[in-house]
Symmetry: C2
Amino acid sequence: MNLHRKVRRLSGAFVAVMLFALALTVHVNANAQSSVLPSWNDGAAKQAIVSFVIKVTDKSGTNYVPPEDRIATFDQDGTLWVEHPLYAQAMFALARVHELAPQHPEWKQHEPFKAVLTNDRETMAKFSESDWEVILAATHAGMTTEAFQELVKQWLANAKDPRFHQLYTELVYQPMLEVIDYLRANGFKTYIVTGGGQEFVRVYSQHVYGIPPEQVVGSSIVTKFEYLDGKPVLMREPKVFFIDDQAGKPVGINLFIGKRPHAAFGNSTGDQQMLEWTQAGDGARLMMLVLHDDPEREYGYGPAIGLPDTKVGTFSQALYDEARSKGWTVISMKKDWKRIFAFKK
Amino acid sequence: MNLHRKVRRLSGAFVAVMLFALALTVHVNANAQSSVLPSWNDGAAKQAIVSFVIKVTDKSGTNYVPPEDRIATFDQDGTLWVEHPLYAQAMFALARVHELAPQHPEWKQHEPFKAVLTNDRETMAKFSESDWEVILAATHAGMTTEAFQELVKQWLANAKDPRFHQLYTELVYQPMLEVIDYLRANGFKTYIVTGGGQEFVRVYSQHVYGIPPEQVVGSSIVTKFEYLDGKPVLMREPKVFFIDDQAGKPVGINLFIGKRPHAAFGNSTGDQQMLEWTQAGDGARLMMLVLHDDPEREYGYGPAIGLPDTKVGTFSQALYDEARSKGWTVISMKKDWKRIFAFKK
């Protein structure tokens, strides 16, 4: 055998060994991946998440993202947990109105309190933003930050939602918890970026999502440093400080995180600018929107599935069209999720 | 030997072994600790830091703090780096005025720009807060967040301070870098909580202090989400959003972190409320103030060392008295620090 042929034969053996190793790797990866996101059906949505993670963690690829820049942001209401028929925080506010009513006999005669106290659903359904602001000011302010968090904690430990009869913190979407875990296992820092109250969500974010308070960005009211009986406290004032919704979301992300997300998850027009801001960065970016098209297991609402517009979580037709044209992934709760809640198989 | 005496003798042997083990432990700890904070002289200040860390990390002690609650906050100007005779960010602003002057011929006739452009130190020394606001609005706004950060980066890479002829980022205090590292090695999450510009400090916080942008809390101006040539951007507006100084520091800490620090470091009345807020929590807390009493190696200023009040970093006599009465530790740069800068042995 001349040297030339010997090299060729050895090369052949080498190639065969490499091919076998490669096949083994692919097999192992495929197996490993069938165990990630177990509550997701196979399909474009699950594939988008897995492909994105493989891309940004592959050190040899052009889309590699160093761990310190792996930021993922999640809207909360309607994206991580149920927001229908009313946000949990709104339910908390209504419960507080009932609780505080004996100290405010004048509320019986004045809207928006009157409607709440008489359980006048028709009027409540028509509450304007400013009606809600009046309710929030009356129920969320005038106390220290610590007193407020204690109230939220107590309410969450007892209040149950009207349809599933579960604690609100049980109404989180199991598939989204798996996405949070999966991203975190791949070096991502996961943030909640919510239009809801920052101090409200921080009470349970660690316990429910494994997300610490400092990784919750949300709307806030003014707090004021004061001395109460000589002790420094932070008092919650009945005045809006920051609205973390719509164009406020990229502003909030820049303010609190100072980095552009590589992955962003939402479900409504409140998340539109966050997804646009995410996509405008270089390299691989993942933009996803949860579509509520499963009235049997959860809820179905919004123009994007041919239903009338609702006040909560508007997935408008325009947003749906933008998602299609920009290549954002729409998650169908009905088709993409094997299971919705941990409490229900 | 009766059983009673046997037990006593065994007990005695046991106690002796335990005492020996204890002595060994103490010896090992002492040795280990002589290698921590190498730029600190032995004394009350170094001891306060080391004792605090031992206390909060001792799982069997009553002062144990779980890692997720180990939060330490550091003021920047005058606490982590030189602030005299002017903050680095003010030097940046003045340099920007010179740079932008050709586009603003009217500045030659108008204060506060005129004084800056003619290098009229006497007038500049008397600049009011509103003079500085005019300068900040002219130099820090009207551009995207990314353009601003690029300007800061370029300036920091070139500008040198007038006394030491070093890049500003070299003017950090080596002993404080060691405290940051030491706390971090003991599970602390370290934050900068500065009256200076949040977006300014975030440019170099990772590189200089090992503190990522999301752990920098500071003052900020309004940013606005806009589309520039169809691309979403955040524009910096000439309008104050949040002042992270004095009573604003505990407010900022609650807003950005949502947890009360266990250790807080400052050097002026701007840090007073942060230290009070820190101390008002339960369990072991560490409050420290850097005193600028070393004109030879750094600077000496402030009423607390018998000098006139200065605009930057006021360590007032009242603050000094409060520190004494509340048991806060005052760090004497002169006595407690073996070395001040890394660039100078």
